[in-house]
């Protein structure tokens, strides 16, 4: 383990302005986790969250079409959209953690974060509702959940999909 990840006391012994290139490389890798990065990388999570949110908003469209036509295939579209949306939401969550670790995100905007978390939770519940058979998979609980999630996500989306402020540049 020590060979790949020098412990803190190793770092302490490494002078900051070392001229040895190998020492410098190790120092940089660690530094990127411990201090604000020198390059202001773009955060990863907004792209995944945005993609997932689009699928979850679309559930409202397929649900309304199902309720109007009673053609079962629209209900199947809804549950696949929910599955895709939730998968991307989960990946978005992982990306957010990576963004925080790599200091691409310095501070979480908690209001927006909470809004997205609520949308994800309601969509998970909605996936269970949509796993019922036939009409009650959509009407009434499914479509109410889809409409709530769509409203929430459109409002958050207009505000932007990033849930964190980037580190202030020097």
């Amino acid at each position: 383990m020590n060979r790949h990840f020098p412990t803190n006391d190793v770092i302490e012994r490494v002078p900051r302005k070392s001229t040895d290139p190998s020492v410098l490389r190790v120092g940089l890798v660690l530094q990127s986790f411990q201090e604000a990065p020198i390059r202001p990388g773009r955060p990863l999570h907004p792209r995944l969250i945005g993609l997932g949110a689009v699928l979850l908003v679309a559930v409202l469209v397929t649900d309304v079409t199902y309720a109007n036509t009673l053609l079962f295939q629209w209900e199947n579209f809804s549950i696949w959209l929910l599955t895709g949306g939730l998968t991307l939401a989960a990946l978005g969550g992982v990306a957010l953690v990576l963004d925080i670790l790599s200091r691409r995100v310095a501070r979480i905007e908690w209001v927006k974060f909470t809004g997205l978390a609520v949308a994800a939770m309601l969509s998970l519940l909605n996936a269970f509702v949509h796993s019922r058979d036939a009409y009650t998979a959509v009407v009434p609980q499914g479509i109410v959940l889809s409409a709530s999630v769509a409203t929430l996500l459109v409002v958050i989306g207009l505000w932007g999909w990033s849930v964190g402020t980037p580190p202030s540049s020097h």
Partner: protein, 446 residues
């Protein structure tokens, strides 16, 4: 590991559905007979479920029978045996079969396939009929041959004269049969097509011949639990078909029967009866599976309603015209027992108390917690009608803690001595239940 994660998933599921607390589940005894207790339907986030993994029998283990009966393994080592049928010369046919692979239409189908595999219901079927012959009459077959091979998910079998009919999932086939032969190499001729793929949700085609042998009756199950695959794919399904044996012409004899897995003629009245598997996911006590006489032209409710006019709100648009004429079935067996085999016992050589009714094999299911079924019951009849609550005849298919299933009973038949044969598709065995000459009342051979 796979099964551990699935068990964890099931535990989570039971918490979400409230089933883990065993709340207010009335015992099965409240749901026997003509007027079962029917609670209000519920819609779940996750319906109550309990999946006992199918593990098979240990060496020497058998199901359990009450005093007066004895049970032994008739034969073992099958590939998912589901139906047994005795030919006039005493040869026993064992139909080894399972359904075609179901397509994945929704994420739920994937989860259901996993649950099914855990419960031991996904083992590949042999797609063949095996013949067993007990030459010396000791109740253990001495000859075992492949009788008909390369079938397509067969289920029902019936012999009329020299014509042997086999109900594949997609067609009714006729084979020429010569008494005493142990193998049929003829590919058979198709009498008529039966509703099958591409979904083929309930794939079994049960089969019986009218007492005069002129007509065949085929039970065809629905293509969904409750029309979640659309109403169009239900054309000709959830019905009992009547097929003219000579011409192959067919018509729907009765409809609205969700999954009629067994059809048979009651010997005293000569009327057609069926066992039917009802709908799932609206509660541990909904909807009771049943045994019923089948009226020509009758409609029994599926999908729009159950037990007469109890509406199922999951089906839209509704059909009030059909609901109005829905016939309540004769006899509820209680919920989620999954009856898959039936035999009227008049011709049997079981003790007298089991000789005037119907034996029903309850395969059991994972759609209820606590579990129900996983046994063979006897429904007494008087004057051609059920006359009392079902009695347990063969139990012990589940382990005592109900955590695993060792076997699950399906097809029933009587061998030439009048003993009961039971196909067991998880134990991959055929069991033989006979009167116990020592322990119980001795019976003269019929």
């Amino acid at each position: 590991m796979k099964s551990v994660s699935l068990l964890v998933g099931c535990a989570l599921v039971s918490v979400m559905s409230g089933a883990a607390f065993g709340q207010g589940v009335a015992p099965p005894s409240t749901q026997y007979g003509a007027k079962p207790y029917l609670p209000e339907p519920r819609q779940y986030f996750v319906p109550p479920m309990q999946v006992p993994p199918g593990v098979g029998w240990k060496q020497g283990q058998t199901p359990i029978v009450p005093a007066g009966l004895k049970i032994q393994a008739y034969a073992t080592g099958f590939e998912h045996p589901r139906m047994v049928y005795t030919l006039p010369n005493g040869d026993v046919l064992v139909v080894e079969t399972n359904g075609p692979n179901a397509p994945i239409y929704r994420p739920k189908d994937y989860v259901e396939a996993k649950v099914k595999a855990l419960a031991g219901s996904s083992a590949p079927g042999g797609n063949r009929i095996t013949l067993l012959r007990d030459v010396n009459g000791d109740g253990v077959p001495d000859v075992r041959t492949t009788f008909i091979d390369h079938l397509n998910s067969p289920f029902g079998v019936v012999l009329v004269g020299n014509d042997l009919y086999v109900a594949n999932t997609d067609a009714l086939l006729r084979f020429p049969y010569v008494a005493g032969e142990t193998h049929i190499s003829s590919p058979g001729t198709k009498l008529t097509d039966l509703p099958a793929g591409p979904i083929d949700h309930h794939w079994t085609k049960s089969l019986a011949a009218s007492p005069d042998g002129s007509k065949l009756y085929v039970g065809v199950g629905s293509n969904s639990n409750i029309t979640e695959n659309g109403i169009a794919v239900e054309e000709g399904r959830a019905a009992i078909w009547e097929v003219d044996r000579r011409s192959g012409l067919k018509r729907i004899y009765a409809a609205g029967l969700r999954n009629p897995t067994g059809v048979a003629f009651e010997p005293q009245t000569g009327k057609l009866w069926a066992i039917v598997n009802e709908r799932d996911e609206i509660g541990p006590n909904l909807v009771p599976d049943y045994l019923t006489s089948v009226r020509e032209g009758g409609f029994y409710g599926w999908p729009y309603s159950y037990f007469g006019q109890h509406l199922d709100v999951r089906v839209q648009p509704q059909r009030p015209d059909l609901v109005a004429k829905a016939i309540p079935p004769d006899y509820a067996l209680s919920s989620h027992v999954a009856p898959l085999g039936m035999a009227f016992s008049q011709a049997s050589n079981l003790p007298t108390r089991y000789r005037s009714g119907a034996l029903v094999a309850e395969h059991g299911s994972w759609d209820r917690s606590p579990l129900n079924g996983y046994k063979v019951v006897y429904v007494p009849f008087r004057a051609g009608r059920p006359s009392g609550p079902p009695e347990d005849v063969v139990t012990g298919f589940l382990t005592q803690d109900e955590r695993r299933s060792q076997g699950r009973p399906v097809g029933l038949a009587f061998d030439r001595t009048g003993a009961l044969l039971i196909a067991d598709d998880v134990g991959n065995a055929v069991w033989r239940v006979s009167a116990d000459q020592i322990g119980g009342q001795p019976r003269p051979a019929s």
